[in-house]
């Protein structure tokens, strides 16, 4: 026992100083992390093509479609690329529709691409919808679409930047036309605004049950990046889009207090600590591969454009509301990970771009995939809130002798909502773990610690080992504790 504790402390100090607190220490891990059994495969992209892969989908046959920022759509089948379409305006989303047609989100509209003469190249570029306004501002991206069981398509609309005509209360602005909104296009092609208060919502996803989620990037009015459940008619925190909501004027919006705005805002499902986990997250992608991708089935995977990593979201439902945790999954990708998609074989495809904003991976663009070789890794599988702390389950049986308080540490903090560009950690403090107990399944531990709502709880479990002596590759999980389990 003593041996273990000393060894674990030495390891943790070498890595990140476990238990160390720093308000400004929003640094990404520098070391390479990946679960055992997972590897990155780089796909050769077409020669001399600016292959900034910002739209990514695979069809039921496993054919990969990529939409690029240059405006092409490429098709990858039997290890060969063919250009399916071209000339679009900075496409940042693609969907293979139920009928096999391809829907692309680009700045001015959603376009349905049809290969009518079946020669492998789209010949019809049909307008599907474009009920928003695009003012030729570079930051006015259209993200999506995703489609749910009701036949509707959903997307999100980025605010503008450096638009002299825009209404601004910080860095980003709106010149109208539903900038900063999520939208719905129903099965008849009718556009309607769906929700507002979005900033730079670079990723939208639909869960297997048809619930909509979106990510938003850290910046003004977004203290750190976040994942939200997207609900009709709700406000998500960035005030400038209120200018198009009934009952608001510029003056009345500017007169709103921070408290009033915060009170109006939806609470994120998870906060994503800036830098440590992500800086500019892309789309949430559900592992629906039923185990083909390993033990993380039904979990959400998200790539990050700046950090060139992928992290997981571990959803929890407390008192009927989603909250949950984020945990890093893999890093050291070659470029900025903006799009993820699972194919039918259980491979996780990763669309990449670094143009304009940079990425840790040095390459300007590319396409990679994550594959699993069947090895059971040793990682945190899931985390659930309990009445007195958390229950953490792992992918492999734990060495009982490592399940001691000294193997873990915890800290908490909050974020300050404001028009400032991001927020430091507020009221950062370490938490005493009162007890650690291994459950009968050998894979789950219960920890007790003081719980406080509206905080992010970081739990480090550096000292845990599995029965073969393996340590985890990622030893920190960040749980967004919106609410405690109610007494009932």
């Amino acid at each position: 026992m003593i041996f273990y504790i000393r060894r674990f402390c030495a390891i943790s100090l070498a890595l990140t100083c476990f238990g160390h607190l720093s308000v400004s220490a929003q640094q990404a891990p520098e070391h390479k992390y990946k679960p055992d059994g997972y590897s990155i495969v780089t796909i050769e992209t077409p020669k001399d093509v600016r292959f900034h892969a910002t739209g990514l989908d695979t069809d039921k046959h496993g054919i990969v479609y990529v939409a690029t920022r240059f405006g092409d759509v490429w098709r990858f089948e039997n290890n060969e690329w063919t250009k399916f379409a071209e000339g679009l305006h900075e496409a940042t989303g693609i969907l293979i529709d139920d009928d096999g047609s391809v829907v692309v989100a680009h700045k001015p509209e959603l376009t349905r691409l049809i290969d009518a003469n079946e020669d492998g190249v789209a010949d019809e570029y049909q307008y599907l919808s474009g009920g928003w306004d695009f003012h030729d501002n570079y930051h006015e991206f259209t993200f999506g679409p995703v489609k749910t069981g009701n036949g509707s398509y959903y997307g999100t609309l980025n605010l503008s930047h450096n638009d002299p005509n825009a209404f601004k209360m910080g860095a980003m602005g709106s010149s109208g036309g539903y900038r900063g909104f999520a939208f719905e296009v129903n099965a008849k092609g009718e556009f309607s605004p769906f929700a507002w208060g979005l900033r730079s919502p670079a990723g939208i996803g639909a869960s297997p049950t048809g619930e909509l989620f979106f990510t938003d990037n850290q910046g003004d009015w977004v203290p750190t990046s976040k994942l939200h459940l997207l609900k009709k008619g709700k406000f998500y925190g960035h005030p400038v889009s209120l200018i198009e909501v009934d009952g608001f004027t510029k003056e009345s919006i500017q007169a709103l207090s921070l408290d009033a705005l915060e009170e109006m805002s939806e609470t994120p499902v998870v906060w994503i600590p800036h830098g440590e986990v992500a800086s500019s997250p892309g789309n949430p992608e559900w592992d629906t591969t039923a185990g083909s991708f390993g033990p993380f089935k039904n979990q959400i995977f998200i790539g990050d454009q700046t950090q060139s990593n992928i992290f997981r979201v571990l959803l929890d439902k407390v008192n009927g509301e989603y909250q949950g945790a984020v945990i890093n999954f893999m890093n050291k990708f070659q470029s900025g990970n903006i799009r993820l998609d699972f194919d039918k074989k259980g491979q996780l495809w990763v669309g990449q771009t670094a143009r304009g904003w940079g990425a840790k991976g040095g390459k300007p663009f590319g396409l990679q995939k994550v594959v699993w070789d069947g090895t059971n890794p040793f990682e945190l599988l899931d985390i659930k809130l309990t009445k007195s702390g958390f229950s953490l389950s792992f992918t492999d049986e734990l060495d009982a002798s490592s399940v001691v308080k000294a193997s873990l540490s915890a800290q908490q903090w909050g974020y300050k909502y404001s028009g400032n560009y991001g927020s430091p950690k507020i009221d950062l403090k370490s938490l005493d773990i009162a007890s650690v107990t291994l459950q009968a399944d050998g894979k789950t531990i219960d920890i007790t610690l003081p719980l406080m709502a509206k905080q992010v709880i970081q739990i480090d479990f550096t000292g845990l080992r599995d029965k073969s002596g393996r340590s985890v590759s990622v030893d920190k999980v960040y749980y967004t504790l919106n609410q405690l389990i109610s007494a009932q």
Binding site: G87, H89, E90, P108, R112, E124, Q126, D136, G356, W357
Partner: protein
């Protein structure tokens, strides 16, 4: 006429500089060629000949293609006007450039040189001085603090030269700004930077906004001095991105620092409709949002607007340089590679008494050309533009309903409209489509 424009050619640059030096003191007519660069009729002739003879290799805007950039400060074979003239005459056959001495007359060849000189941009004879300062706040310049000075033969301000913590660096040289428009020096992320710009010995007031300060230049040739104090700037802030832009900063014209040159290296991505018609949706300078640009192999290009269902621009030449819109963050508009025949607010459209609001439905490619479909009120239209040759483009409308069409014709220099072989010289025209609902309006170019 050959100049450095690629990394591969940089090795040759130093040799070229030696040529330049030797050619300068052997000047035997360079002054008269420089004078010719102020002669409008010579410039017109030179421009015409350049576009006919030189543009295919050196680009219409002299920015280089197969051949070198002829506008910037890097010259391999000598920048003295007489040297340029002799190089045009003799050519460089081993590099694929024929000599033109026996093809054109002496005045014609001189007019080409004059035109090239008139298009010169950026620094010439650029030199630098580095002063080691005692503290970040120290701004007192003394001769003792001067630690390094020299020439910069590639004529780009290199802010990576200093190797001390606290410094002041000065760049000074002759400088060529656009002769016929107001231009500005633009410093990217310039808020924390302490920069002074002097034109002909006078400090220029800083304008623009705090993040991208600007300094207005004089048109044409001037003496330019840039002074930068490192202060408390972080290392990555000290390698300045300085670019010359047009007056409203909508076009980044050329780089003047080495880092800006790197940043702009992706700014030239030309889309040219060689062999087939191309369709591109991009932001294009001078063309409204929501326009679909179409380039044809016949060098007649147009833009169809999906919000108004109008043809909002037509230009002759190559299609687009989309570089400014697809490099970096893509803030800037693509540039048309030719001359506008007309552009918005001049438009070609049909109206049937509607409020002008159309419902765009898309386009399909048929026999290599796009057919646009849309509805005005509840009436279905298609528009099929086809450039039949390099002198004529036909816009064929079909209308489902048996209605008269109200044509709105745009006018500009260099073309005329014809409807059913009859010249149409009025802005508004009411015409009947044929029995199949078709109507063709043709633009015939001079």
């Amino acid at each position: 006429m050959y100049k450095v424009f690629s990394n591969a050619a940089k090795v040759l640059g130093s040799i070229g500089f030696m040529f330049a030096v030797s050619a300068t003191w052997a000047n035997d007519g360079s002054d008269s060629l420089r004078d010719l660069a102020n002669d409008e009729s010579a410039l017109q002739q030179g421009k015409k000949l350049y576009q006919q003879v030189c543009a295919s290799c050196h680009a219409r805007d002299l920015s280089g293609s197969v051949g070198f950039n002829l506008k910037d400060g890097e010259w391999v074979h000598g920048e003295a006007p007489t040297k340029i003239l002799s190089n045009i005459k003799k050519g460089f056959m081993n590099a694929g450039m024929p000599g033109f001495g026996s093809v054109y007359t002496e005045p014609q060849l001189k007019s080409i040189v004059a035109y090239i000189l008139s298009e010169r941009e950026g620094f010439a004879d650029l030199s630098y001085k580095i002063y080691a300062m005692e503290t970040p706040e120290d701004k007192v310049v003394t001769s003792e603090k001067l630690i390094k000075s020299g020439e910069l033969p590639n004529n780009f301000a290199d802010f990576r030269l200093p190797e001390v913590e606290n410094y002041r660096i000065e760049f000074e040289g002759d400088f060529y700004a656009p002769r016929d428009e107001v231009s500005k020096i633009w410093a990217q992320w310039g808020k924390p930077l302490d920069i002074v710009v002097e034109v002909d010995g006078e400090a220029v007031a800083k304008g623009g906004n705090p993040w991208v300060p600007t300094w207005t230049l004089k048109p044409g040739k001037q003496r330019l001095k840039l002074i930068y104090h490192s202060g408390t700037n972080r290392p990555n802030q000290r390698d300045l991105i300085l670019i010359v832009t047009n007056e409203d900063m909508s076009i980044k014209l050329f780089p003047i620092s080495t880092r800006a040159r790197q940043a702009m290296s992706d700014n030239k991505i030309e889309i040219i409709a060689t062999g087939k018609t191309l369709v591109q949706r991009k932001k294009v300078l001078g063309v409204p949002s929501y326009s679909v640009s179409v380039g044809t192999p016949n060098n007649i290009n147009y833009a169809f607007n999906t919000r108004t269902c109008s043809v909002v621009a037509m230009w002759q030449g190559d299609m687009l340089n989309v570089g400014p819109n697809v490099s970096g963050r893509g803030q800037d508009g693509s540039l048309v590679l030719g001359e506008f025949l007309f552009k918005h607010p001049q438009t070609l459209d049909v109206a049937t008494g509607s409020d002008g609001k159309c419902r765009y439905q898309g386009y399909k490619m048929q026999s290599g050309d796009p057919i646009f479909t849309y509805k005005l009120n509840d009436t279905q239209y298609t528009l099929t533009p086809i450039a039949v040759n390099n002198k004529q483009i036909d816009f064929t409308y079909t209308i489902e309903a048996n209605e008269m069409l109200n044509l709105n014709l745009p006018f500009g220099e260099g073309f005329e409209w014809f409807v059913s072989d009859q010249r149409a010289d009025v802005e508004y025209l009411q015409v009947s489509p044929d029995s199949s609902g078709k109507l063709t309006v043709s633009a015939r170019l001079d």
